[in-house]
């Protein structure tokens, strides 16, 4: 059983012995809870049409994502050592064509939620009721207007097989007065705000029953 200690080892194969980066990875706990406890996906089912989908929209700083994929067997841990070199499948932004287990290529902000709404609608159109679609965005990323097209659309089309996870580490230049959750709630999403380091709280929010689309705002506040 992989522990977060093993994850730290995998993480440092990319970043070197830089403790600060490891601690600062805002997405690490969320990714771990998703891949360890929530997502119905494994290296053997990466192409199965009924797999759950995880779309990393916030593609910047993907070390935690790669570490979790390696810990769960999607990636050979050895490829972590050469990351961002010319022949490596692993770049500073993930490319779905190159990274086993990556559902989308991302990097430019504000693309994952639209793709996620489309993925969820595509599954619905094919009567695939089992798979769920999870999209991870950042609070700074939410500045991009494309997110708000997707948030409104998912609410209006009642895309119930979609969960957006908004990592709020206070990085949006102009902030989100009143909180991020209300941006989703006003469009008809089920929205909860949890501690982004609390695994049980994340699990409960990510698996909560919801009629419409679900938003989980994961707050990260470093000391």
């Amino acid at each position: 059983m992989t522990t977060t200690l093993d994850l730290a080892t995998l993480f440092r194969r990319m970043t070197g012995d830089e403790k600060h980066e490891w601690a600062a990875a805002s997405t690490l706990d969320i990714l771990w809870v998703l891949y360890d406890r929530v997502l119905n996906i494994s290296p053997d089912t990466v192409d199965h049409p009924d797999r759950d989908r995880f779309l990393l929209s916030k593609g910047h700083g993907p070390m935690a994502f790669y570490a979790v994929l390696a810990a769960k067997g999607f990636l050979d841990p050895a490829v972590l050592d050469g990351w961002t070199t010319f022949d490596s499948p692993l770049g500073q932004h993930p490319d779905r064509v190159l990274v086993p287990g990556a559902e989308i290529g991302s990097g430019s902000l504000g693309h994952g939620l639209g793709l996620g709404v489309g993925t969820a609608l595509g599954l619905r159109a094919q009567n695939r009721t089992a798979p769920r679609v999870f999209v991870l965005v950042g609070d700074g990323e939410l500045d991009e207007g494309s997110n708000h097209e997707a948030i409104a659309l998912a609410g209006r089309l009642d895309v119930a097989n979609l969960t957006a996870i908004a990592v709020d580490n206070g990085s949006a230049s102009h902030g989100w007065p009143g909180g991020i959750a209300r941006r989703f709630a006003v469009e008809g999403w089920h929205a909860t705000t949890v501690d982004g380091r609390d695994h049980d709280a994340l699990y409960t929010a990510l698996t909560a029953r919801h009629d419409g689309p679900n938003a989980v705002v994961a707050t990260i506040r470093e000391a």
Binding site: P49, L115, A120, L121, G122, A125, Q126, S146, L153
Partner: protein
């Protein structure tokens, strides 16, 4: 052409479970009967063009074949990064279908004109570009696009030629002459034929401009070429250069001018005159260039 497009896609929705339609209010009502039969595969996203293309990318990721449709600037220019990333970079396909062309309705002004659409798509790898000149060519080109998996752009217009030509993907020899070759793309053909009446030139017709038929141009037997395109002038100039990359050649390109924004309304025919795409304009260019 739009009616043929809607009819063809509506029929395809009934027979091919992969087909899905995504609109952003433009032509929403034209797909109402199809939406009634296939509510989960005929999606209107409201006036949200970034979501329109993003949703199409997501649909394609699940194995569907999205048909994305809007007015030219709102299909190609406004969500261009979504076209680049949500389709191309994700390595998925779609069929983009525009109406309005470069200036089908000049009364709407510059905001509703997109003569740069084909040039923009030319900055991305792997796009097939169809520029039909007749509704029957739409009917011939669209089923193949729907059945395929690649990225296809179908550029519809309210302007059309009197007769259709076979849509083979290759250039069609319409007229043979000895002084040079005139390539007419899509709805420009009738003006080209009228303009070159009595001039001793070869006329080729293209309803598919990407991939470019280098061999067909070469086979016409002339290295003096006039290119007549209904979008930005010279959009295919680099393709002509590829066709003749080992021989000296001459090229004159006619199309929507790049040097100024035409701040005028009126009719499409009025704008043809400004761009030299009218019959006298094309005749003058061909006469001067292919002496």
């Amino acid at each position: 052409m739009r009616e043929t497009f809607v009819d063809t896609v509506t029929t395809a929705l009934d027979h091919d479970p992969r087909i899905a339609v995504v609109t952003a209010d433009i032509s929403r009502d034209a797909f109402t009967p199809a939406r009634a039969r296939h509510p989960h595969r005929v999606l209107n996203v409201g006036i949200r063009e970034q979501a329109m293309v993003g949703v199409a990318g997501g649909l394609a990721l699940t194995g569907l074949r999205p048909v994305v449709h809007s007015y030219t600037p709102f299909l190609v220019e406004r969500p261009f990064e979504q076209i680049k990333l949500d389709l191309g970079h994700q390595d998925v396909g779609a069929v983009l279908v525009s109406i309005g062309a470069s200036y089908d309705d000049p009364v709407w002004g510059r905001t509703h004109q997109a003569p740069g659409d084909v040039a923009l798509l030319d900055t991305l790898p792997g796009w097939t570009v169809h520029v039909p000149g007749h509704p029957e060519e739409v009917a011939a080109l669209l089923p193949g696009a729907l059945a395929g998996e690649g990225r296809v752009y179908l550029r519809l217009s309210t302007r059309q030629n009197a007769t259709a030509h076979p849509a083979t993907g290759r250039f069609t020899l319409v007229r043979e002459g000895s002084r040079g070759t005139v390539v007419a793309v899509g709805p420009t053909l009738d003006n080209v034929l009228a303009a070159t009446e009595g001039q001793d030139v070869t006329v080729l017709y293209a309803s598919t401009i990407r991939p470019f038929d280098h061999r067909g141009l070469r086979a016409a037997g002339h290295t003096d070429v006039v290119l007549v395109e209904p979008y930005l002038a010279g959009t295919s100039a680099h393709e002509v250069a590829i066709a003749f990359d080992d021989v000296a050649h001459r090229l004159r390109a006619i199309g929507v001018r790049r040097d100024r924004e035409v701040r005028a309304y009126g009719t499409a025919e009025d704008h043809d005159v400004v761009h030299g795409l009218d019959v006298p304009g094309i005749a003058r260019t061909v006469r001067e260039f292919l002496r």
